[in-house]
Protein backbone atom coordinates (compact mmCIF):
# COMPACT_ATOMS: atom_id res chain seq x y z
CA UNK A 1 0.00 0.00 0.00
CA UNK A 2 1.62 3.24 -1.06
CA UNK A 3 0.88 6.75 0.12
CA UNK A 4 -0.23 7.94 -3.31
CA UNK A 5 -2.94 5.31 -3.57
CA UNK A 6 -4.20 6.16 -0.11
CA UNK A 7 -4.27 9.86 -0.96
CA UNK A 8 -6.07 9.12 -4.23
CA UNK A 9 -8.70 7.03 -2.45
CA UNK A 10 -9.12 9.62 0.27
CA UNK A 11 -9.77 12.36 -2.30
CA UNK A 12 -12.26 10.19 -4.19
CA UNK A 13 -14.01 9.27 -0.97
CA UNK A 14 -14.13 12.87 0.18
CA UNK A 15 -15.78 13.95 -3.07
CA UNK A 16 -18.26 11.07 -2.87
CA UNK A 17 -18.87 12.05 0.74
CA UNK A 18 -20.38 15.33 -0.45
CA UNK A 19 -23.19 13.39 -2.13
CA UNK A 20 -23.59 11.21 0.98
CA UNK A 21 -23.98 14.39 3.02
CA UNK A 22 -26.78 15.56 0.76
CA UNK A 23 -28.62 12.23 1.07
CA UNK A 24 -28.18 12.16 4.84
CA UNK A 25 -29.29 15.79 5.11
CA UNK A 26 -32.69 14.83 3.73
CA UNK A 27 -33.03 11.98 6.21
CA UNK A 28 -31.88 14.11 9.11
CA UNK A 29 -34.25 16.94 8.20
CA UNK A 30 -37.26 14.62 8.05
CA UNK A 31 -36.28 13.00 11.34
CA UNK A 32 -35.50 16.28 13.05
CA UNK A 33 -38.89 17.78 12.22
CA UNK A 34 -41.31 14.83 12.21
CA UNK A 35 -39.44 12.29 14.34
CA UNK A 36 -39.92 9.60 11.71
CA UNK A 37 -37.17 7.76 9.87
CA UNK A 38 -37.70 7.62 6.15
CA UNK A 39 -36.98 3.97 5.41
CA UNK A 40 -37.65 4.64 1.72
CA UNK A 41 -34.78 7.11 1.45
CA UNK A 42 -32.28 5.17 -0.65
CA UNK A 43 -35.04 3.65 -2.74
CA UNK A 44 -36.33 7.14 -3.58
CA UNK A 45 -32.83 8.12 -4.64
CA UNK A 46 -32.61 5.14 -7.01
CA UNK A 47 -36.00 6.09 -8.43
CA UNK A 48 -34.61 9.55 -9.19
CA UNK A 49 -31.49 8.02 -10.78
CA UNK A 50 -33.67 6.05 -13.17
CA UNK A 51 -35.76 9.11 -13.99
CA UNK A 52 -32.55 10.95 -14.86
CA UNK A 53 -31.26 8.06 -16.96
CA UNK A 54 -34.54 7.77 -18.86
CA UNK A 55 -34.49 11.46 -19.73
CA UNK A 56 -30.82 11.19 -20.72
CA UNK A 57 -31.42 8.20 -23.00
CA UNK A 58 -34.58 9.55 -24.64
CA UNK A 59 -33.85 13.22 -25.06
CA UNK A 60 -30.12 13.40 -24.43
CA UNK A 61 -30.53 15.86 -21.56
CA UNK A 62 -27.44 15.88 -19.34
CA UNK A 63 -28.01 14.81 -15.71
CA UNK A 64 -26.83 18.17 -14.38
CA UNK A 65 -29.42 20.02 -16.45
CA UNK A 66 -32.15 17.62 -15.37
CA UNK A 67 -31.17 17.91 -11.71
CA UNK A 68 -33.59 20.76 -10.84
CA UNK A 69 -36.43 18.87 -12.50
CA UNK A 70 -35.54 15.64 -10.68
CA UNK A 71 -35.48 17.54 -7.39
CA UNK A 72 -38.84 19.15 -8.21
CA UNK A 73 -40.46 15.82 -9.14
CA UNK A 74 -39.17 14.19 -5.97
CA UNK A 75 -40.34 17.19 -3.95
CA UNK A 76 -43.85 16.67 -5.31
CA UNK A 77 -43.72 12.92 -4.60
CA UNK A 78 -42.37 13.54 -1.10
CA UNK A 79 -45.05 16.15 -0.39
CA UNK A 80 -47.73 13.72 -1.55
CA UNK A 81 -46.36 10.82 0.48
CA UNK A 82 -46.26 12.96 3.60
CA UNK A 83 -49.84 14.19 3.21
CA UNK A 84 -51.32 10.80 2.29
CA UNK A 85 -49.30 8.35 4.40
CA UNK A 86 -46.81 9.84 6.82
CA UNK A 87 -49.16 12.42 8.31
CA UNK A 88 -51.44 9.65 9.51
CA UNK A 89 -48.73 7.80 11.38
CA UNK A 90 -47.14 10.68 13.29
CA UNK A 91 -49.05 9.88 16.47
CA UNK A 92 -48.76 6.10 16.17
CA UNK A 93 -46.34 3.99 18.18
CA UNK A 94 -42.87 4.01 16.70
CA UNK A 95 -43.17 0.37 15.70
CA UNK A 96 -46.10 1.12 13.41
CA UNK A 97 -44.33 4.10 11.84
CA UNK A 98 -41.39 1.89 10.97
CA UNK A 99 -43.62 -0.67 9.29
CA UNK A 100 -45.40 1.91 7.10
CA UNK A 101 -42.16 3.50 5.92
CA UNK A 102 -40.54 0.12 5.31
CA UNK A 103 -43.63 -0.72 3.22
CA UNK A 104 -43.07 2.54 1.35
CA UNK A 105 -39.46 1.56 0.65
CA UNK A 106 -40.52 -1.86 -0.65
CA UNK A 107 -43.03 -0.23 -2.97
CA UNK A 108 -40.45 2.24 -4.33
CA UNK A 109 -37.77 -0.39 -4.87
CA UNK A 110 -40.02 -2.85 -6.61
CA UNK A 111 -41.82 -0.25 -8.70
CA UNK A 112 -38.40 0.74 -9.99
CA UNK A 113 -37.68 -2.93 -10.64
CA UNK A 114 -40.96 -3.34 -12.52
CA UNK A 115 -40.58 -0.23 -14.64
CA UNK A 116 -36.88 -0.39 -15.50
CA UNK A 117 -35.94 -4.04 -14.94
CA UNK A 118 -33.33 -5.53 -12.68
CA UNK A 119 -30.10 -5.15 -14.64
CA UNK A 120 -27.32 -2.57 -14.35
CA UNK A 121 -27.68 0.53 -16.51
CA UNK A 122 -24.72 2.84 -17.02
CA UNK A 123 -25.48 5.39 -19.72
CA UNK A 124 -22.69 7.39 -21.32
CA UNK A 125 -22.54 11.00 -20.22
CA UNK A 126 -20.39 13.67 -21.80
CA UNK A 127 -17.99 14.14 -18.90
CA UNK A 128 -17.95 10.55 -17.72
CA UNK A 129 -14.29 9.76 -18.31
CA UNK A 130 -12.69 13.18 -18.07
CA UNK A 131 -10.27 13.87 -15.26
CA UNK A 132 -7.34 16.13 -14.45
CA UNK A 133 -4.24 15.79 -12.34
CA UNK A 134 -3.74 17.78 -9.19
CA UNK A 135 -0.27 17.07 -7.89
CA UNK A 136 -0.03 13.33 -7.20
CA UNK A 137 -3.76 12.61 -7.50
CA UNK A 138 -6.08 12.57 -10.46
CA UNK A 139 -9.56 14.01 -9.96
CA UNK A 140 -12.62 12.85 -11.93
CA UNK A 141 -14.50 15.85 -13.24
CA UNK A 142 -18.02 14.40 -12.68
CA UNK A 143 -17.08 13.50 -9.13
CA UNK A 144 -15.85 17.02 -8.50
CA UNK A 145 -19.01 18.53 -10.00
CA UNK A 146 -21.16 16.16 -7.92
CA UNK A 147 -19.29 17.21 -4.80
CA UNK A 148 -19.56 20.91 -5.59
CA UNK A 149 -23.25 20.83 -6.40
CA UNK A 150 -24.07 18.58 -3.45
CA UNK A 151 -22.34 20.88 -0.98
CA UNK A 152 -23.96 23.90 -2.64
CA UNK A 153 -27.43 22.36 -2.31
CA UNK A 154 -26.72 21.34 1.29
CA UNK A 155 -25.71 24.91 2.16
CA UNK A 156 -28.77 26.25 0.32
CA UNK A 157 -31.06 24.02 2.40
CA UNK A 158 -29.33 25.15 5.60
CA UNK A 159 -29.70 28.79 4.51
CA UNK A 160 -33.37 28.20 3.70
CA UNK A 161 -34.00 26.80 7.17
CA UNK A 162 -32.10 29.56 8.97
CA UNK A 163 -33.19 32.66 7.08
CA UNK A 164 -36.52 32.30 5.29
CA UNK A 165 -39.93 32.57 6.93
CA UNK A 166 -40.98 29.05 5.91
CA UNK A 167 -37.67 27.67 7.09
CA UNK A 168 -38.05 29.38 10.45
CA UNK A 169 -41.58 28.02 10.74
CA UNK A 170 -40.30 24.50 10.02
CA UNK A 171 -37.71 24.84 12.76
CA UNK A 172 -40.32 26.21 15.11
CA UNK A 173 -42.60 23.23 14.38
CA UNK A 174 -39.68 20.87 14.96
CA UNK A 175 -38.92 22.52 18.26
CA UNK A 176 -42.43 22.58 19.64
CA UNK A 177 -45.29 21.20 17.59
CA UNK A 178 -47.97 22.30 20.03
CA UNK A 179 -46.60 25.82 20.32
CA UNK A 180 -46.41 26.14 16.55
CA UNK A 181 -50.04 25.01 16.30
CA UNK A 182 -51.16 27.58 18.89
CA UNK A 183 -49.72 30.51 16.98
CA UNK A 184 -51.56 29.35 13.88
CA UNK A 185 -48.82 27.64 11.88
CA UNK A 186 -50.24 25.48 9.10
CA UNK A 187 -48.36 22.54 10.39
CA UNK A 188 -49.54 19.91 7.92
CA UNK A 189 -48.39 22.03 5.03
CA UNK A 190 -45.04 22.62 6.73
CA UNK A 191 -44.57 18.92 7.33
CA UNK A 192 -45.39 18.26 3.68
CA UNK A 193 -42.83 20.83 2.56
CA UNK A 194 -40.27 19.38 4.92
CA UNK A 195 -40.72 15.83 3.65
CA UNK A 196 -40.68 17.26 0.14
CA UNK A 197 -37.33 18.95 0.75
CA UNK A 198 -35.97 15.71 2.17
CA UNK A 199 -37.13 13.89 -0.95
CA UNK A 200 -35.75 16.66 -3.21
CA UNK A 201 -32.32 16.17 -1.59
CA UNK A 202 -32.27 12.53 -2.64
CA UNK A 203 -33.76 13.52 -6.00
CA UNK A 204 -30.80 15.82 -6.63
CA UNK A 205 -28.35 13.27 -5.26
CA UNK A 206 -29.77 10.67 -7.66
CA UNK A 207 -29.07 12.90 -10.66
CA UNK A 208 -25.55 13.61 -9.41
CA UNK A 209 -24.76 9.91 -9.07
CA UNK A 210 -25.81 8.95 -12.62
CA UNK A 211 -22.44 9.82 -14.24
CA UNK A 212 -20.54 8.19 -11.36
CA UNK A 213 -21.87 4.68 -11.15
CA UNK A 214 -24.15 2.15 -12.85
CA UNK A 215 -27.75 2.23 -11.61
CA UNK A 216 -29.49 -0.89 -10.38
CA UNK A 217 -33.07 -1.08 -9.15
CA UNK A 218 -32.12 -2.97 -5.99
CA UNK A 219 -29.19 -0.76 -4.95
CA UNK A 220 -31.28 1.56 -2.78
CA UNK A 221 -31.34 -0.17 0.59
CA UNK A 222 -27.59 0.23 1.28
CA UNK A 223 -27.94 3.97 0.68
CA UNK A 224 -30.76 4.15 3.20
CA UNK A 225 -28.51 2.38 5.68
CA UNK A 226 -25.46 4.51 4.91
CA UNK A 227 -27.44 7.69 5.42
CA UNK A 228 -28.64 6.28 8.76
CA UNK A 229 -25.04 5.61 9.73
CA UNK A 230 -24.12 9.17 8.77
CA UNK A 231 -27.03 10.56 10.74
CA UNK A 232 -26.14 8.42 13.76
CA UNK A 233 -22.52 9.55 13.41
CA UNK A 234 -23.43 13.22 13.16
CA UNK A 235 -26.23 13.04 15.70
CA UNK A 236 -29.93 12.51 14.99
CA UNK A 237 -31.52 15.69 13.68
CA UNK A 238 -28.26 17.64 13.48
CA UNK A 239 -27.93 19.06 9.96
CA UNK A 240 -24.29 20.13 10.32
CA UNK A 241 -23.62 16.66 11.70
CA UNK A 242 -25.05 15.19 8.48
CA UNK A 243 -22.66 17.28 6.40
CA UNK A 244 -19.54 16.35 8.38
CA UNK A 245 -20.64 12.74 8.86
CA UNK A 246 -21.16 12.32 5.13
CA UNK A 247 -17.63 13.44 4.29
CA UNK A 248 -16.22 11.23 7.04
CA UNK A 249 -18.08 8.12 5.89
CA UNK A 250 -17.15 8.83 2.27
CA UNK A 251 -13.44 8.85 3.10
CA UNK A 252 -13.68 5.87 5.46
CA UNK A 253 -15.49 3.72 2.89
CA UNK A 254 -13.08 4.64 0.16
CA UNK A 255 -10.04 3.83 2.31
CA UNK A 256 -11.73 0.59 3.34
CA UNK A 257 -11.46 -0.59 -0.26
CA UNK A 258 -7.71 -0.91 0.27
CA UNK A 259 -8.27 -4.10 2.25
CA UNK A 260 -11.84 -5.10 1.38
CA UNK A 261 -13.51 -5.84 -1.95
CA UNK A 262 -15.43 -2.75 -3.05
CA UNK A 263 -18.80 -4.54 -2.81
CA UNK A 264 -18.13 -4.98 0.90
CA UNK A 265 -17.37 -1.33 1.57
CA UNK A 266 -20.55 -1.06 3.65
CA UNK A 267 -18.90 -3.26 6.27
CA UNK A 268 -16.68 -0.26 7.04
CA UNK A 269 -19.57 2.10 7.68
CA UNK A 270 -21.49 -0.50 9.66
CA UNK A 271 -18.42 -1.06 11.85
CA UNK A 272 -18.25 2.67 12.42
CA UNK A 273 -21.91 2.61 13.41
CA UNK A 274 -21.30 -0.19 15.90
CA UNK A 275 -18.41 1.76 17.42
CA UNK A 276 -20.48 4.93 17.65
CA UNK A 277 -23.36 3.08 19.28
CA UNK A 278 -20.97 1.55 21.78
CA UNK A 279 -19.05 4.69 22.63
CA UNK A 280 -21.14 7.74 21.90
CA UNK A 281 -24.76 6.89 21.00
CA UNK A 282 -25.84 10.52 20.83
CA UNK A 283 -23.51 11.05 17.86
CA UNK A 284 -20.65 13.48 17.43
CA UNK A 285 -22.81 16.58 17.14
CA UNK A 286 -26.05 15.46 18.74
CA UNK A 287 -27.14 16.67 22.14
CA UNK A 288 -30.43 14.84 22.59
CA UNK A 289 -29.40 11.29 21.75
Amino acid sequence: MNAELVLQLAVQGFLMGGVYSLIALGLSLIFGVMRVINFAHGEMMVFSMFLTITVLLHWGIEPYLFLPAAAAIMFAIGYGIQRVFVNRILDMPEAMQVLVLVGMGIIFENSTLMIWGGSDISPKTRLALSSFRLGPVSVDVPRLIAFGLAVLITLAVLFFLKKTTVGKAIRAAADNRFGALIIGTRINRLYGICFGIGAACVGAAGSLLVPLMPAKATMGAPYTLISFVIVILGGMGSLVGALVGGLFIGVAESLGSVFLPSTMKQVVSFSIMVLILLLRPQGLFGGKG
Binding site: I37, F85, E94, G103, M114, A221, L225, M264, Q266, F270
Partner: protein, 326 residues
Protein backbone atom coordinates in the same frame (compact mmCIF):
# COMPACT_ATOMS: atom_id res chain seq x y z
CA UNK B 1 -60.50 -22.30 28.34
CA UNK B 2 -60.78 -26.07 28.17
CA UNK B 3 -63.11 -25.72 25.24
CA UNK B 4 -60.46 -23.70 23.39
CA UNK B 5 -57.88 -26.40 24.04
CA UNK B 6 -60.23 -29.17 22.85
CA UNK B 7 -60.95 -27.15 19.72
CA UNK B 8 -57.22 -26.77 19.07
CA UNK B 9 -56.72 -30.48 19.75
CA UNK B 10 -59.34 -31.31 17.11
CA UNK B 11 -57.56 -29.07 14.60
CA UNK B 12 -54.25 -30.73 15.47
CA UNK B 13 -55.86 -34.15 14.97
CA UNK B 14 -57.07 -33.10 11.53
CA UNK B 15 -53.62 -31.74 10.65
CA UNK B 16 -52.00 -35.00 11.76
CA UNK B 17 -54.04 -37.15 9.37
CA UNK B 18 -54.19 -34.57 6.58
CA UNK B 19 -51.12 -35.86 4.63
CA UNK B 20 -53.13 -39.02 3.84
CA UNK B 21 -55.45 -37.05 1.61
CA UNK B 22 -53.28 -34.19 0.37
CA UNK B 23 -51.48 -34.27 -2.96
CA UNK B 24 -47.93 -33.04 -3.27
CA UNK B 25 -48.81 -29.43 -4.14
CA UNK B 26 -51.03 -29.02 -1.09
CA UNK B 27 -48.44 -30.70 1.13
CA UNK B 28 -45.99 -28.09 -0.06
CA UNK B 29 -48.46 -25.29 0.71
CA UNK B 30 -49.07 -26.63 4.23
CA UNK B 31 -45.33 -26.99 4.83
CA UNK B 32 -44.92 -23.33 3.88
CA UNK B 33 -47.81 -22.33 6.13
CA UNK B 34 -46.23 -24.14 9.11
CA UNK B 35 -42.75 -22.92 8.26
CA UNK B 36 -43.71 -19.24 8.02
CA UNK B 37 -45.99 -19.50 11.05
CA UNK B 38 -43.03 -20.88 12.97
CA UNK B 39 -40.71 -18.10 11.78
CA UNK B 40 -43.37 -15.51 12.55
CA UNK B 41 -43.71 -16.97 16.01
CA UNK B 42 -39.95 -16.67 16.58
CA UNK B 43 -40.07 -13.03 15.52
CA UNK B 44 -43.15 -12.53 17.67
CA UNK B 45 -41.18 -13.54 20.78
CA UNK B 46 -38.89 -10.58 20.30
CA UNK B 47 -41.04 -7.99 18.60
CA UNK B 48 -44.56 -8.90 19.59
CA UNK B 49 -43.83 -9.28 23.28
CA UNK B 50 -40.95 -6.87 23.86
CA UNK B 51 -41.87 -4.25 21.24
CA UNK B 52 -38.41 -4.07 19.67
CA UNK B 53 -38.82 -4.38 15.93
CA UNK B 54 -36.29 -6.61 14.24
CA UNK B 55 -36.01 -6.30 10.48
CA UNK B 56 -33.04 -8.61 10.30
CA UNK B 57 -34.34 -12.00 11.27
CA UNK B 58 -33.11 -13.43 7.98
CA UNK B 59 -29.66 -13.23 9.60
CA UNK B 60 -30.50 -15.90 12.19
CA UNK B 61 -32.22 -18.02 9.56
CA UNK B 62 -29.10 -17.81 7.40
CA UNK B 63 -26.77 -18.60 10.29
CA UNK B 64 -28.80 -21.70 11.09
CA UNK B 65 -28.95 -22.85 7.48
CA UNK B 66 -25.29 -22.25 6.62
CA UNK B 67 -23.86 -23.60 9.88
CA UNK B 68 -25.63 -26.95 9.81
CA UNK B 69 -25.01 -27.32 6.08
CA UNK B 70 -21.29 -26.63 6.36
CA UNK B 71 -20.99 -28.95 9.36
CA UNK B 72 -22.71 -31.69 7.37
CA UNK B 73 -20.48 -31.10 4.34
CA UNK B 74 -17.14 -30.86 6.18
CA UNK B 75 -17.55 -33.10 9.22
CA UNK B 76 -20.45 -35.23 8.08
CA UNK B 77 -22.39 -34.09 11.13
CA UNK B 78 -26.08 -34.90 11.07
CA UNK B 79 -28.30 -31.82 10.65
CA UNK B 80 -30.23 -32.92 13.73
CA UNK B 81 -27.17 -31.95 15.78
CA UNK B 82 -25.91 -29.27 13.41
CA UNK B 83 -29.15 -27.33 13.77
CA UNK B 84 -28.39 -26.77 17.45
CA UNK B 85 -24.85 -25.66 16.64
CA UNK B 86 -26.29 -23.09 14.24
CA UNK B 87 -28.89 -22.07 16.79
CA UNK B 88 -26.21 -21.49 19.43
CA UNK B 89 -24.21 -19.38 17.01
CA UNK B 90 -27.33 -17.36 16.20
CA UNK B 91 -27.96 -16.97 19.90
CA UNK B 92 -24.50 -15.49 20.41
CA UNK B 93 -24.96 -13.10 17.48
CA UNK B 94 -28.40 -12.18 18.78
CA UNK B 95 -26.99 -11.43 22.21
CA UNK B 96 -24.34 -9.19 20.67
CA UNK B 97 -26.97 -7.29 18.66
CA UNK B 98 -29.13 -7.06 21.76
CA UNK B 99 -26.19 -5.83 23.79
CA UNK B 100 -25.55 -3.02 21.30
CA UNK B 101 -29.20 -2.11 21.06
CA UNK B 102 -30.40 -2.47 24.62
CA UNK B 103 -27.38 -1.34 26.61
CA UNK B 104 -28.27 2.33 26.34
CA UNK B 105 -31.96 1.70 26.21
CA UNK B 106 -31.76 2.57 22.52
CA UNK B 107 -35.23 1.80 21.36
CA UNK B 108 -37.35 1.90 18.28
CA UNK B 109 -35.54 3.21 15.28
CA UNK B 110 -32.01 2.58 16.55
CA UNK B 111 -32.75 -1.05 17.20
CA UNK B 112 -34.35 -1.49 13.77
CA UNK B 113 -31.24 0.00 12.17
CA UNK B 114 -28.90 -2.27 14.06
CA UNK B 115 -30.85 -5.37 13.06
CA UNK B 116 -30.96 -4.36 9.39
CA UNK B 117 -27.26 -3.52 9.39
CA UNK B 118 -26.23 -6.84 10.88
CA UNK B 119 -28.45 -8.75 8.48
CA UNK B 120 -26.81 -6.84 5.64
CA UNK B 121 -23.31 -7.62 6.95
CA UNK B 122 -24.28 -11.28 7.23
CA UNK B 123 -25.58 -11.29 3.67
CA UNK B 124 -22.40 -9.64 2.39
CA UNK B 125 -20.21 -12.16 4.22
CA UNK B 126 -22.18 -15.06 2.78
CA UNK B 127 -21.96 -13.40 -0.62
CA UNK B 128 -18.16 -13.14 -0.51
CA UNK B 129 -16.88 -16.16 1.40
CA UNK B 130 -15.89 -18.98 -0.89
CA UNK B 131 -16.42 -21.58 1.83
CA UNK B 132 -20.05 -20.41 1.98
CA UNK B 133 -20.36 -20.74 -1.79
CA UNK B 134 -20.25 -16.95 -2.34
CA UNK B 135 -22.97 -15.69 -4.67
CA UNK B 136 -23.61 -19.13 -6.19
CA UNK B 137 -24.60 -20.46 -2.80
CA UNK B 138 -24.22 -23.96 -1.43
CA UNK B 139 -25.68 -26.97 -3.17
CA UNK B 140 -26.55 -29.87 -0.91
CA UNK B 141 -26.15 -33.40 -2.26
CA UNK B 142 -29.35 -35.35 -2.09
CA UNK B 143 -28.76 -38.29 0.25
CA UNK B 144 -32.18 -39.32 1.49
CA UNK B 145 -32.34 -40.70 4.98
CA UNK B 146 -33.55 -39.73 8.39
CA UNK B 147 -30.11 -38.81 9.74
CA UNK B 148 -29.50 -36.48 6.81
CA UNK B 149 -32.91 -34.84 7.32
CA UNK B 150 -33.56 -35.43 3.63
CA UNK B 151 -36.55 -37.27 2.26
CA UNK B 152 -37.99 -38.27 -1.09
CA UNK B 153 -41.53 -37.43 -0.14
CA UNK B 154 -42.94 -34.25 1.30
CA UNK B 155 -44.74 -36.11 4.13
CA UNK B 156 -41.79 -36.19 6.58
CA UNK B 157 -41.15 -32.50 5.92
CA UNK B 158 -44.79 -31.87 6.67
CA UNK B 159 -44.47 -33.52 10.07
CA UNK B 160 -41.17 -31.83 10.89
CA UNK B 161 -42.65 -28.42 10.05
CA UNK B 162 -45.78 -29.18 12.05
CA UNK B 163 -43.58 -30.35 14.93
CA UNK B 164 -41.54 -27.14 14.83
CA UNK B 165 -44.73 -25.09 14.86
CA UNK B 166 -46.19 -27.02 17.80
CA UNK B 167 -42.91 -26.66 19.66
CA UNK B 168 -42.97 -22.90 19.11
CA UNK B 169 -46.61 -22.63 20.20
CA UNK B 170 -45.87 -24.46 23.44
CA UNK B 171 -42.74 -22.40 24.06
CA UNK B 172 -44.54 -19.11 23.44
CA UNK B 173 -47.55 -20.16 25.52
CA UNK B 174 -45.26 -20.99 28.47
CA UNK B 175 -43.22 -17.87 27.76
CA UNK B 176 -46.31 -15.65 27.67
CA UNK B 177 -47.56 -16.74 31.08
CA UNK B 178 -44.12 -16.83 32.68
CA UNK B 179 -42.49 -14.02 34.58
CA UNK B 180 -40.23 -13.16 31.66
CA UNK B 181 -43.15 -12.85 29.23
CA UNK B 182 -45.20 -10.70 31.57
CA UNK B 183 -42.19 -8.53 32.34
CA UNK B 184 -41.56 -8.04 28.63
CA UNK B 185 -45.14 -6.94 28.02
CA UNK B 186 -44.75 -4.49 30.90
CA UNK B 187 -41.55 -3.19 29.32
CA UNK B 188 -43.26 -2.89 25.94
CA UNK B 189 -46.11 -0.88 27.37
CA UNK B 190 -44.07 1.45 29.57
CA UNK B 191 -40.37 0.87 30.01
CA UNK B 192 -39.79 3.51 32.68
CA UNK B 193 -42.70 2.29 34.79
CA UNK B 194 -41.49 -1.31 34.55
CA UNK B 195 -37.99 -0.26 35.51
CA UNK B 196 -39.22 1.72 38.48
CA UNK B 197 -40.96 -1.43 39.73
CA UNK B 198 -37.63 -3.19 39.74
CA UNK B 199 -37.88 -5.09 36.45
CA UNK B 200 -34.41 -5.65 35.02
CA UNK B 201 -35.40 -4.56 31.51
CA UNK B 202 -32.02 -5.21 29.96
CA UNK B 203 -31.89 -8.82 31.08
CA UNK B 204 -35.40 -9.67 29.94
CA UNK B 205 -34.90 -8.12 26.52
CA UNK B 206 -31.64 -10.05 26.14
CA UNK B 207 -33.54 -13.20 27.03
CA UNK B 208 -36.16 -12.48 24.37
CA UNK B 209 -33.66 -11.85 21.58
CA UNK B 210 -31.63 -14.93 22.55
CA UNK B 211 -34.67 -17.21 22.45
CA UNK B 212 -35.92 -15.64 19.24
CA UNK B 213 -32.57 -15.97 17.45
CA UNK B 214 -32.04 -19.54 18.67
CA UNK B 215 -35.43 -20.73 17.44
CA UNK B 216 -35.23 -18.89 14.11
CA UNK B 217 -31.94 -20.60 13.32
CA UNK B 218 -33.49 -24.06 13.81
CA UNK B 219 -35.83 -23.32 10.90
CA UNK B 220 -32.84 -22.49 8.71
CA UNK B 221 -31.58 -26.05 8.90
CA UNK B 222 -35.01 -27.39 8.01
CA UNK B 223 -35.24 -25.07 5.01
CA UNK B 224 -31.74 -25.94 3.76
CA UNK B 225 -32.48 -29.66 3.82
CA UNK B 226 -35.80 -29.24 2.10
CA UNK B 227 -34.71 -26.95 -0.77
CA UNK B 228 -31.14 -28.40 -1.09
CA UNK B 229 -29.82 -25.04 -2.15
CA UNK B 230 -28.76 -22.05 -0.08
CA UNK B 231 -27.98 -18.68 -1.51
CA UNK B 232 -27.71 -15.30 0.18
CA UNK B 233 -30.43 -13.70 -1.94
CA UNK B 234 -33.01 -16.30 -0.98
CA UNK B 235 -32.17 -16.97 2.66
CA UNK B 236 -30.52 -13.79 3.91
CA UNK B 237 -32.13 -10.94 2.01
CA UNK B 238 -34.31 -8.12 3.29
CA UNK B 239 -37.15 -9.75 1.34
CA UNK B 240 -36.89 -12.81 3.59
CA UNK B 241 -37.03 -10.63 6.69
CA UNK B 242 -40.19 -8.98 5.33
CA UNK B 243 -41.66 -12.41 4.60
CA UNK B 244 -41.02 -13.33 8.26
CA UNK B 245 -42.67 -10.26 9.77
CA UNK B 246 -45.71 -10.07 7.49
CA UNK B 247 -47.67 -12.97 8.97
CA UNK B 248 -47.49 -12.09 12.67
CA UNK B 249 -48.33 -8.47 11.81
CA UNK B 250 -51.42 -9.53 9.87
CA UNK B 251 -52.40 -12.10 12.45
CA UNK B 252 -51.66 -9.98 15.48
CA UNK B 253 -48.38 -9.29 17.24
CA UNK B 254 -47.99 -10.29 20.87
CA UNK B 255 -50.53 -13.13 20.71
CA UNK B 256 -49.79 -16.85 20.67
CA UNK B 257 -52.04 -17.67 17.75
CA UNK B 258 -51.52 -14.47 15.72
CA UNK B 259 -48.61 -15.72 13.57
CA UNK B 260 -50.45 -18.99 12.88
CA UNK B 261 -53.65 -17.23 11.85
CA UNK B 262 -51.65 -14.80 9.71
CA UNK B 263 -49.83 -17.63 8.01
CA UNK B 264 -53.04 -19.56 7.24
CA UNK B 265 -54.55 -16.35 5.86
CA UNK B 266 -51.85 -15.15 3.50
CA UNK B 267 -49.45 -17.99 2.64
CA UNK B 268 -51.72 -19.51 0.01
CA UNK B 269 -52.67 -16.21 -1.69
CA UNK B 270 -49.03 -15.15 -1.54
CA UNK B 271 -47.96 -18.35 -3.30
CA UNK B 272 -50.68 -17.97 -5.93
CA UNK B 273 -49.72 -14.38 -6.60
CA UNK B 274 -46.06 -15.29 -6.79
CA UNK B 275 -46.69 -18.19 -9.17
CA UNK B 276 -49.05 -16.13 -11.32
CA UNK B 277 -46.74 -13.14 -11.50
CA UNK B 278 -43.66 -15.15 -12.33
CA UNK B 279 -45.63 -16.53 -15.30
CA UNK B 280 -46.63 -13.03 -16.35
CA UNK B 281 -43.03 -11.91 -15.85
CA UNK B 282 -43.41 -8.97 -13.48
CA UNK B 283 -40.92 -9.98 -10.76
CA UNK B 284 -41.25 -6.92 -8.52
CA UNK B 285 -45.03 -6.80 -8.37
CA UNK B 286 -45.55 -9.29 -5.57
CA UNK B 287 -43.26 -7.25 -3.33
CA UNK B 288 -45.20 -4.09 -4.25
CA UNK B 289 -48.33 -5.90 -3.08
CA UNK B 290 -46.54 -6.91 0.16
CA UNK B 291 -45.61 -3.28 0.74
CA UNK B 292 -49.18 -2.13 0.20
CA UNK B 293 -50.53 -4.86 2.49
CA UNK B 294 -48.07 -3.81 5.19
CA UNK B 295 -49.21 -0.17 5.00
CA UNK B 296 -52.92 -0.99 4.81
CA UNK B 297 -52.76 -3.40 7.75
CA UNK B 298 -51.06 -0.77 9.91
CA UNK B 299 -53.66 1.82 8.90
CA UNK B 300 -56.77 -0.29 9.32
CA UNK B 301 -55.89 -3.30 11.51
CA UNK B 302 -52.97 -2.15 13.65
CA UNK B 303 -53.49 -5.09 15.98
CA UNK B 304 -54.02 -7.66 13.25
CA UNK B 305 -57.05 -9.88 12.77
CA UNK B 306 -56.81 -11.50 16.21
CA UNK B 307 -59.09 -8.93 17.94
CA UNK B 308 -61.82 -9.73 15.39
CA UNK B 309 -61.40 -13.45 15.82
CA UNK B 310 -61.53 -13.07 19.56
CA UNK B 311 -64.78 -11.16 19.35
CA UNK B 312 -66.33 -13.97 17.29
CA UNK B 313 -64.83 -16.99 19.02
CA UNK B 314 -64.33 -15.95 22.62
CA UNK B 315 -68.01 -16.37 23.58
CA UNK B 316 -67.80 -19.94 22.25
CA UNK B 317 -64.74 -20.88 24.28
CA UNK B 318 -65.12 -18.92 27.47
CA UNK B 319 -68.19 -19.15 29.66
CA UNK B 320 -68.15 -15.48 30.54
CA UNK B 321 -66.96 -12.77 28.22
CA UNK B 322 -63.28 -12.13 28.92
CA UNK B 323 -61.99 -8.70 29.55
CA UNK B 324 -60.60 -6.85 26.56
CA UNK B 325 -57.02 -7.92 26.15
CA UNK B 326 -54.39 -5.58 27.58
Amino acid sequence: MNRLYSFLAVILGILLVLPRVLNNYWLEIFILIFYYAYLGQCWNILTGYSGNISLGHSLYLGIGAYTSTRLAMVLGLTPWVGMFAGALLALVVGLFIGFLGFRFGLRGVYFVLITISFAEIGRLIALHMDSLGSFMGLFIDFKPGFWNMQFRSNVPYYYIALGLLLFSLIVVRIFETSKIGRSLVAIREDEEAAESLGVNTFRYKMGAIALSAFMTALAGTFDANRIFHLNPERVMSMGMSIEIILRPIIGGMGTVLGPVVGSFLITLPAEWIRAYLSEVGRPGLHMVIYGLVLILVVFFFPRGVMPFLRRVFDPMFFSRAPKEKE
